[in-house]
């Protein structure tokens, strides 16, 4: 088994918390992982991505090759499109529909949505809305992880464990909020796929 994920977003949106949750789940499942992150300049509101590779065999490259990502998971709609050359023909594009507008020339949203919809395997979800419904907009990144979870080759139970581990020091409440967020995202994806 080999599963390549590109996580995308804008610096400050916290995509690394998603990477951490998947990473924990992968290790729990006794898989190899490599995860390259972005630090430095672009964290100041620029475009950021992280390459997350999971495999049952040892992994060579820290970076994903063109045309081979199984999943692009983006917390921002325009950013979901930036890394399309890396998506495989059978890969899934899972994106938040809520834009992060910090530039003057942000394109019309309809144009972005219509490009996302051109990808057959896509999920477009308003993660912030879903997160608010279950208690707190801050859980929207984990809603996104939930929405991608049906496509990731890792058991749901392992993902839950990952979330429990990562949020443990923030207290019971935060753990339970994020578990609900995971579930809500997953349900949305399963209902719409």
């Amino acid at each position: 088994m080999k599963y390549d994920i590109i996580l995308a977003g804008v610096g400050g949106q916290g995509i690394l918390s998603i990477a951490a949750a998947i990473g924990w789940a992968a290790l729990d499942s006794k898989l190899f992982i490599k995860q390259s992150e972005v630090h430095g300049m672009s964290q100041r509101g620029g475009a950021v991505q992280s390459n997350l590779r999971i495999s049952s065999e040892e992994i060579a490259s820290d970076l994903i090759s063109f045309g081979s990502a199984d999943l692009i998971l983006s917390v921002e709609p325009m950013e979901s499109l930036r890394y399309l050359p890396f998506l495989s023909d059978k890969g899934w594009l899972v994106s938040n529909s809520k834009p992060f507008v910090n530039i003057n020339n942000y394109p019309p949203l309809e144009d972005i949505y219509s490009e996302i919809k051109k990808i057959k395997n896509h999920i477009l979800i308003d993660a912030e809305k879903t997160a608010k419904e279950i208690g707190n907009y801050r859980a929207s990144n984990i809603v996104m992880l939930g929405a991608a979870s049906p496509f990731i080759d890792i058991t749901y139970a392992s993902l839950e464990k990952g979330i429990k581990t990562i949020f443990a020091r923030k207290g019971e409440e935060v753990v339970s909020l994020n578990l609900r967020a995971l579930e809500a995202g997953r349900k949305f994806a399963e209902d719409t796929r």
């Binding site: 509101g45 620029g46 063109f66 045309g67 050359p85 942000y106």
Partner: protein, 541 residues
């Protein structure tokens, strides 16, 4: 043994801790910052009392590391590639003095310039100084090289340069830890004048260095980090491949499902393993060199005249001349096709980094732009830090960013040339790093320049590390002779805009050195401090 999921940078830190290091000396810089931060937050490092406080700049870091080595203990100095330029003087000379306790210098290169002003390759420095260089291909090797490198440094009595690039520094993988080694105790160098580089002694030491270098070549041939495999038993192969550091991983990624067995020389230790290279060279018609950074190995193999026309890489166009490697570039170099199924749609636009909302640098540029409109454009020299983003819209305020500290000295040079007014905009950490000596030059000639020190009390760009001059800036300026009447302190807030503009205007009209200290805490570190306090209050309840 324990296994940890570590960034390449963190693996180096853990390797050094387990390798018996007693002191880490560093100035922050992407992609090297996480090495020191890891040691700072390590419980074991704390309990052992391993030194890890930030240095004022890379030169002071290398010197302190060398001092610890003099005293017999193991040390490491960490920096980004351009930091090694700043530290070049002690670095070069530490090869002549040699070491007592083991010493590693870690330089993290940034090919493709993700967060840097150039993509210089630190391996040149190793070559230049005649020092051994280690270059890990993965996180485990990063750990092993730091762990073993300290002892290796003691054995060859030289500092060892550990070079890595952004992708390895900032990528996580599992790392298997080794049994921790004890720290050294204090012990003087055998020769009391080993570190005295008076010419007569330096000449002696240099001869020792040259002898050691010849031995290092043999050591490289035997190194576990240099491995030659898949050589044809008889006859010649069409293509042999040399892969240095992380390039080896990109190569293996491409050979996973390949039937052809190319002869491969993996390189992780320099000086170059001559015997191994010779063996490969003679058994192959062509040699492809894969190295992240400059074409150093390629250049030395091919020679100035490229007589044999045998070596392929960045210099003959097989691989782009600039930028970092990746699995697709390596695939193309191997003649494999890379495939993409989707293009980036045209609606996607660039999203450059920007100053945070509420950042004090914003208020400074808003005010400075009023003066720029009055006195003309292209008179603002700036420096390196978050405030460099003032070069981008909506501010477009600054006209230079070259190297740390250059704003003040470039402004002085431009003033010498007759420009007036000239401004220098510099951050507090950059001022401490290299701006103080610049300011002294300006003070000594009473140059008519207006210096704005944007003091957000932290090293912001690299994530908010402590800043060496916090709380000392006005004293420093006074101490080196800036007239106290022209040291102005202001809080850059929107409501103080008019005050800031009028201070700027007054100081522009003063024909000497003015320093305006615009002081307001970085909003990122302020927010973090607030969060930490809330968490603390919660706990105590």
């Amino acid at each position: 043994m324990e296994k940890l999921l570590l960034l390449g940078a963190e693996a180096i830190a853990q390797g050094a801790i387990d390798g018996g290091v007693s002191g880490v000396y560093a100035y922050p810089g992407t992609p090297s910052t996480e090495i020191t931060e890891y040691v700072q937050s390590s419980g074991i490092a704390k309990s052992k009392g391993i030194h890890s406080r930030w240095s004022t700049n890379e030169k002071t870091a290398v010197e302190a590391a060398l001092g610890m080595s003099y005293a017999g203990k193991r040390s490491i100095a960490c920096m980004k590639h351009v930091g090694l330029n700043v530290a070049a003087d002690p670095f070069m000379n530490s090869a002549i003095t040699g070491v007592n306790g083991g010493m590693l210098v870690v330089a993290a290169d940034d090919p493709s310039m993700h967060s840097s002003q150039n993509e210089q390759d630190s391996r040149y420095y190793g070559n230049f100084a005649l020092m051994p260089v280690l270059e890990p291909s993965n996180q485990q090797e990063a750990y092993d090289m730091a762990y073993d490198g300290l002892e290796f440094s003691e054995k060859c009595e030289l500092p060892v340069l550990l070079r890595l690039t952004t992708r390895l520094s900032h990528s996580r993988a599992s790392v298997m830890l080794k049994t921790p080694k004890p720290e050294n105790s204090v012990k003087f160098p055998k020769d009391p004048i080993q570190f005295v580089l008076l010419p007569a002694n330096a000449r002696k030491r240099y001869k020792i260095l040259l002898r050691t270098n010849a031995e290092l070549e043999n050591i490289s041939d035997e190194s576990v980090y240099n491995r030659l495999f898949n050589l044809p038993e008889n006859g010649k192969s069409e293509l042999g491949i040399i892969a240095c550091g992380i390039a080896y991983n990109y190569l293996m990624e491409n050979l996973n499902d390949e039937k052809v067995k190319y002869p491969i020389l993996k390189i992780g230790q320099y000086p170059l393993p001559k015997k191994l290279i010779n063996e490969l060279y003679n058994k192959c018609d062509k040699i492809l060199v894969l190295e992240d950074g400059y074409p150093i190995v390629e250049e030395s193999l091919r020679g100035l005249l490229n007589l044999e026309n045998k070596v392929k890489g960045r210099l003959d166009g097989t691989i782009p001349r600039d930028g970092e490697l990746n699995p697709d570039i390596v695939a193309t170099a191997l003649g494999k096709s890379t495939k993409t199924f989707f293009e980036v749609p045209k609606v996607v636009v660039a999203r450059p980094p920007e100053l945070c909302n509420g950042c004090s640098h914003r208020d400074i540029y808003t005010a400075l732009n009023v003066l720029i409109e009055e006195y003309g454009h292209q008179k603002v020299f700036s420096d390196i830090g978050c405030y460099t983003l003032g070069a981008l819209p909506p501010f477009n305020s600054i006209n230079s960013c070259v190297d740390m500290g250059a704003s003040i000295t470039m402004a002085k040079g431009a003033a010498d040339a007759g420009l007036h007014p000239v401004f220098a905009v510099i951050g507090d950490s950059t001022f401490a790093h290299s701006g103080i000596t610049s300011l002294l030059d300006a003070v000594n000639e009473n140059s008519p320049i207006t210096v704005i020190i944007s003091d957000n009390a932290t090293t912001g760009m690299t994530g908010g590390q402590e800043s060496a001059a916090t709380g000392k800036i006005e004293n420093i300026c006074q101490g080196i002779g800036v007239d106290p009447e022209h040291i102005r302190i202001v809080t850059p807030l929107r409501k103080n805009h008019d005050e800031l503009v009028s201070i700027l205007r007054e100081e522009v009209n003063y024909k000497g050195v003015s320093v305006i200290i615009a002081r307001r805490e970085c909003i990122q570190t302020a927010a973090r401090a607030k969060k930490a306090e809330i968490a603390k209050n919660k706990e105590s309840k």
